[in-house]
């Protein structure tokens, strides 16, 4: 059975204005990712990895080219349309976890459901506990993020990224701020997600983890390479 294209970047470029002139963070790159794929993104600092991720999540817009994710063309969407689309279709995991410090772990997970009106209000706590169970965090549900270790916070952030059952989960160096043991546990969760049918894309500097990812894209000076070639 042919798999669906979930990420379809068509000649996208991103240029920033810097004090010393324009900076080409991405140079007309194209990329296709299919549903159920586990894709890694590697590259040195400043190569354009985060810019690429931001294009895919609709957090930022390309200077040129078309971005199609989960079948939607993102280029013409408004900020609010993008936010609502993202909330429903894409789960984002950050390097620094980015849990809201004044909400408990469970409340952090319910928040995207509330924003996107997903699930009935009464069902949301149960759903949150289910997700926390998946990441082994049910006993930490009522704690504030600052009371947790980095690994625990990241597992909570993963649970939050899954709140609205997105088809695509994106991690921007999700293990970059964790010790190797925690990173390993978190990576195992990602593998589990892929087994469950999620499409997962993550940026990583960790060569060991990258070696466990079936498909790895290299980003270098704003260009994408796969097995030494530009991806088709």
């Amino acid at each position: 059975m042919a798999k669906n294209i979930i990420i379809d970047l068509q000649g996208i470029g991103k240029t920033f204005d810097g004090p010393a002139g324009p900076i080409h963070a991405l140079k007309e790159v194209s990329l296709k990712v299919y549903s159920g794929e586990f894709v890694g993104v590697r590259g040195p600092s400043g190569s354009g990895k985060s810019t690429l991720i931001n294009m895919i999540t609709g957090i930022d817009r390309p200077t040129r080219g078309a971005v199609k994710v989960t079948g939607e063309l993102l280029n013409n969407m408004s900020e609010d349309q993008l936010a609502r689309w993202r909330g429903k279709n894409v789960g984002v995991i950050f390097q620094f976890f980015q849990l809201l410090p004044t909400l408990t772990v469970m409340e952090n997970i319910i928040l995207p459901m509330e924003f996107c009106h997903a699930w009935k209000p009464k069902e949301r706590p149960e759903r949150a506990m289910h997700l926390l169970d998946q990441v082994g965090m049910t006993d930490q549900a009522q704690k504030l993020p600052n009371m947790l270790s980095g690994g625990q916070q990241q597992r909570a952030a993963i649970a939050r990224s899954l709140a609205n059952e997105p088809a695509l989960v994106i991690g921007d160096e999700p293990t970059g701020n964790l010790d190797s043991k925690s990173a390993d546990k978190v990576f195992y969760l990602f593998e589990e997600l892929v087994k469950q049918g999620k499409t997962f894309m993550m940026v990583t500097h960790d060569l060991g983890l990258a070696s466990r990812i079936p498909r790895v894209i290299e980003v270098l000076d704003g260009d994408l390479f796969e097995n030494g070639n530009r991806p088709k």
């Binding site: 004090p19 931001n54 999540t57 957090i59 930022d60 900020e79 609010d80 936010a83 609502r84 993202r86 909330g87 429903k88 984002v92 950050f94 620094f96 980015q98 809201l100 410090p101 004044t102 909400l103 409340e107 319910i110 928040l111 995207p112 509330e114 924003f115 996107c116 939050r160 709140a163 609205n164």
Partner: protein
């Protein structure tokens, strides 16, 4: 509760310091408005109510002489007059112990005190006066230590004390406490009045007309005067009163207006503080906004979240501002009413003021916060999320950055404090504006106080007499002056002539054409009379019927230098006088004075060489010498059988006048203090926000070896830098706008004060701003010193 609103609540609760800061910022403005508006309403309403309750007369006629009840009955038969009531008022000497010192006072008597018709007094305690039993003015018990019920008052009758017992406490709407009044007032029966004052009858009339209008009252006064003149009497001067408006309402409204302006200014400062704090709050929350956008929140949802937070700030501020505002408003009203001898009302929360406070407390912060929120929410998610860590805000690109970083050779901590101070230009501008306005108001109000005192000094210096005595009857000038100048402590003396007359522009007639004028005959070459001229020249002995006219009266009459006016002097008829100068003085009633050469005036009055008023200068200018001269004069002339009707000591009068204006300027200073509190709160808030924003930098400083003291110095330095910069702005603004403020206030209270800048206040504010800056920096600086390296570098 929805999770998103739970976030709002937790943000408020977990940032108690910031929450308290915003709530206090809103509260100060809302409280100031509540206090001033409440007191304005309470005072105006109570003044109006008590005025109407007293059944006010339409005019007071002060007679040159006394009338009996038959005359009053005959006046009531004049068709233009509805009712007439008379009372007597005489200056007396009183004391509470036989060996005590005589005090100046007054006694007031009506035909039937308990059955008055107009401007009715109220019996507050005890009984109405009866034979040998007197009433005392309620507010004078405290003001002048007058005895209460059961106490004894000795009045001077034929140089002997006679005891009367106080059996009642009364309130007379026309009598005020000190410093608005100089002497204690007592109420006595007509017979006792005759025994104490030495005459029987009424020297003042209260009248009403069938239908009130100024023209009708003026017409009635003219008819009464005609009838009195027919009987050999006359009206010395009159005062028309509005039946529905308290006679002091205009001044009270003026003061209320000034206070309202200052309350609105306080509210404005509060709003700036709120804008600053909300701006900082949003700036701090931008990464969270980015995250919320990432997980699916729309701009509308985020806007509603933060607007809800502001709404809660507003609600909580009302909890503080409403009760304090109501309490302070009632207290201020009570204080003002007490000054005006109007009974205070019970504590009251005014529904309209409550609604106004709710409106201001809820709407103002929302309006102040909407722009920072919309600005924050509009930041794209990518940019919002990336705002973590050191180096936010692109330091170094702006002119101010280049200027401050160009200052070299100063200690590194001072350089850091200097450069950090101006890193957030918007925030700095609002903080500076708040502190600058506070400082400018302080300097303006101080200059107002100083200007009032200096103006009073100028006026008293212009009338350089230190002691004034007035004989009961005219005396021969050439006989009296040598007698006075032979007495101890007297440097020189001269006699003046006082008359009350009517003035008008030649060729005018009818109602409104005549102006009451207090004419004073003064020696043209007087060492005592050196008034402040605002135009023209002083009097010259060679002048023929030249006059100096009060500038305010000249303005009312529409006349100036070189113009002629007609003066209708009692017993002398009309004569034409040429205005040679305009003077600034506070004499007469409502500054309606005119000064002529005494000899010229006396010739017009057919009173050559005579006068009743003596102006004396002492050998030394101090209160003790002046009081000694006054006492000596009374004793000396009494022994000669020449009765002194009244006497006054200039320093006492000057102090009293200054005290009266002091009431207003102290009120203004109270509002200024409130502004200074808002200003220091703004400074403290700004520094607290700086600490929050720069936790990572503080961590880095700590990591490279900064001690707690070093970190504290940087933040205290920032506070001082802001405080002193605001001082630099406040000084020119305060001194520059001061003359406008003094002029505006002067026109409100009808006192054309000259502007004198209070230079001392500039340095006092410097001291205050330094102390405020250090105090306001202390909490944020202390918080900064408590940040550990781990905590700050891990901070998100």
């Amino acid at each position: 509760m929805k999770i998103s609103f739970l976030k709002v609540w937790r943000d408020l609760w977990l940032n108690k310091g910031r929450t308290l800061m915003v709530i206090m910022s809103i509260s100060v403005g809302v409280m100031a408005v509540g206090m001033v508006v409440s007191s304005n309403i309470l005072v105006t309403r109570q003044m109006g109510d008590t005025h109407i309750e007293s059944n006010p007369s339409h005019a007071l006629l002060y007679l040159a002489g006394v009338v009996d009840e038959d005359t009053i009955s005959s006046l009531e038969r004049i068709p233009s007059v509805k009712g007439v009531e008379g009372y007597s008022n005489s200056y007396i000497k009183w004391k509470t112990t036989l060996d005590g010192k005589w005090e100046d006072g007054s006694i007031i008597s009506y035909a039937e005190l308990e059955n008055q018709t107009y401007d009715k007094m109220t019996l507050k305690d005890g009984a109405w006066p009866e034979s040998k039993f007197i009433g005392v003015e309620e507010v004078h018990i405290q003001s002048f230590n007058a005895p209460e019920i059961g106490g004894t008052v000795y009045f001077e009758i034929n140089e002997h004390p006679r005891a009367y017992t106080v059996n009642g406490i009364l309130r007379n709407p026309w009598v005020f406490p000190a410093p608005m009044s100089e002497n204690a007032a007592f109420y006595v029966t007509q017979n006792d009045f005759a025994k104490i004052a030495g005459y029987y009858g009424f020297d003042t009339l209260q009248i009403t007309v069938p239908e009130y209008s100024k023209e009708n009252v003026e017409f009635a006064i003219d008819e009464i005067n005609d009838k009195l003149e027919f009987q050999g009497m006359s009206i010395a001067f009159s005062e028309i009163l509005h039946p529905e408006e308290h006679f002091l309402q205009e001044i009270v409204s003026g003061v209320g207006l000034v206070l309202t302006v200052m309350a609105i200014a306080s509210l404005g400062l509060s709003v700036m503080l709120v804008i600053n704090t909300i701006n900082a709050l949003i700036a701090q929350q931008i990464p969270q906004i980015g995250i919320m956008k990432t997980i699916g929140s729309t701009r509308r949802q985020i806007t509603i979240l933060y607007m809800s937070a502001i709404f809660i700030y507003g609600l909580l501020s009302l909890v503080i501002a409403v009760p304090i505002g109501a309490y302070a408003g009632n207290a201020l009203a009570k204080w003002m009413l007490n000054l005006l001898n109007v009974p205070a009302t019970p504590f009251e929360i005014l529904p309209n003021v409550l609604l106004l406070q709710i409106f201001i407390g809820l709407i103002t912060p929302l309006v102040a916060g909407i722009f920072p929120i919309l600005k924050g929410v509009a930041i794209p998610a990518a940019q919002a999320i990336s705002q973590t860590g050191i180096g936010r805000g692109q330091y170094g690109y702006r002119l101010i950055d280049r200027l401050t970083s160009g200052i070299r050779g100063i200690p590194i901590l001072a350089a850091l404090a200097l450069r950090n101070t101006f890193r957030r230009p918007g925030r700095v501008a609002l903080t500076l504006l708040t502190l600058t306005i506070s400082g400018a108001f302080f300097i303006m109000v101080s200059s107002t106080q100083y200007s009032f005192v200096k103006t009073i000094d100028t006026i008293f210096d212009g009338f350089g007499n230190e002691v004034q005595i007035e004989f009961e009857q005219d005396q021969r000038i050439e006989e009296v002056i040598p007698l006075i100048e032979s007495r101890p402590n007297v440097k020189n003396a001269e006699m003046w002539v006082f008359r009350i007359a009517d003035a008008k522009v030649p060729g005018t007639s009818g109602p409104g054409s005549e102006y009451e004028v207090f004419v004073r005959g003064v020696p043209s070459k007087s060492p005592i009379f050196k008034p402040k001229l605002t135009a023209g020249r002083t009097l010259d002995p060679a002048d023929a019927r030249a006059i100096l006219l009060n500038q305010k009266l000249a303005g009312k009459m529409g006349v100036g230098i070189g113009d002629e006016i007609v003066i209708d002097l009692p017993d002398a008829g009309e004569s034409n006088w040429t205005i040679v100068g305009l003077v600034f003085d506070l004499g007469g009633r409502d500054q309606n004075t005119a000064f002529a050469d005494i000899d010229t005036l006396n010739r017009t009055l057919n009173n050559v060489g005579k006068s009743a008023v003596v102006m004396i200068q002492g050998t030394e200018q101090n209160l003790e010498i002046q009081q000694a001269i006054e006492a000596d004069m009374i004793e000396f002339f009494d022994a000669k059988g020449m009765t002194i009707d009244s006497s006054a000591v200039a320093t006492e009068e000057r102090n009293n006048a200054a005290a009266q204006f002091g009431i207003l300027t102290n009120l203004l200073m109270m509002m200024t203090v409130m502004m200074a509190i808002v200003g220091s709160m703004g400074l403290s808030g700004t520094l607290s926000i700086n600490v929050i924003e720069r936790r990572r930098e503080i961590g880095v400083m700590r990591a490279v070896g900064a001690s707690s003291k070093d970190v504290g110095i940087v933040f205290t330095g920032e506070g001082l830098m802001l405080g002193l910069t605001s001082w630099l702005f406040a000084v020119p603004i305060g001194l520059g706008v001061g003359p406008v403020f003094v002029k505006a206030l002067g026109s409100v209270i009808d006192f054309p004060a000259e502007y004198h800048p209070a230079i001392n206040s500039v340095w006092i504010w410097f001291g205050i701003v330094v102390v405020l800056s250090i105090v306001a920096s202390w909490i944020p600086a202390r918080r900064a010193t408590q940040i550990s390296v781990n905590e700050s570098l891990a901070y998100e």
